[in-house]
Amino acid sequence: MHLYPITAYHYLVLAAALFALGATGVMLRRNIIILFMSIELMLNAVNLNLVAFSRLNGHVVGQVFALFIVAVAAAEAVVGLGILLAFYRNKETLNIDEVNLLRG
């Protein structure tokens, strides 16, 4: 593992770091919207991985997978934000710690 020349592994490390960032965000922030955005960061890291692998193998299947992830991310964002809005209307807050309806 050298700094130069750049290999696919460098991209994998970058993706891992991005994923860890996203994970940190999910664990540290309490604003649900920022939480969602952290999840988007993680999905992006996965995409980056897939594209790097696609490059590594010289095949575009990885990119096709990434496209599907984009579609799923869109669905996730839409439903997630819908739930968030419904939640916000009821409790007037976006704090994840107050999402405790199931706790009783």
Binding site: T7, E40, V70, L85
Partner: protein
């Protein structure tokens, strides 16, 4: 050499914007950094020879999904900031530890695999044959046709679901 500069520059941008996303105080600022982050990732895709995916990334992610986030951030007119309330049961330190453990683990795997003698790293500059868009399109509509249709159904369901959730109950 040029590629190294591009890579490290972009990596710095991506991680920098990523850090800003999760640390920004205002959610709107977070959204802006998220856009910038996605744009930088799109450039990485171009470097990796995935032009089509890069354009889709900008079009769908940056131009679509994040706009949705921005709308929601602006429309939920927050009366009190979410960070004000602190749950005493929350274990922040554990969170950081977990995240760094994930990072360390993944990095270790990658580095180990890369330095293992069996894995001969293929330089990224090896050319991809043919046009990228045609290949992706071909695969999407042949081998992954069912997955493609399932994805479109998923989007439809998500759309209906979101409208149901967000609609006023009256």
């Amino acid at each position: 050499m040029l590629e190294a500069i591009a890579f490290y520059g972009l990596a710095a941008l991506i991680l920098g914007f990523g850090v800003m996303v999760i640390t920004a105080r205002s959610a709107v600022h977070s959204v802006v950094f998220l856009v910038l982050n996605f744009l930088a990732v799109a450039v990485v895709y171009v470097v990796l020879g995935a032009e089509f995916l890069a354009v889709i990334q900008v079009l769908v992610y940056a131009g679509g999904i994040v706009v949705l986030y921005l709308f929601v951030v602006m429309l939920v007119n927050q009366k009190r900031t979410p960070e004000a309330h602190h749950d005493p049961h929350r274990k922040t330190g554990l969170g950081i530890m977990l995240a760094s453990a994930v990072l360390a683990e993944v990095t270790a795997i990658v580095v180990y695999t890369a330095s293992a003698p069996s894995a001969s790293p293929i330089p990224v500059s090896s050319p991809v044959v043919g046009g990228n868009t045609e290949q992706v399109g071909w695969l999407l509509y042949t081998d992954y046709l069912i997955a493609f249709e399932v994805a479109s159904m998923l989007l439809l369901a998500a759309m209906v679901g979101a409208i149901l959730f967000a609609r006023r109950m009256d």
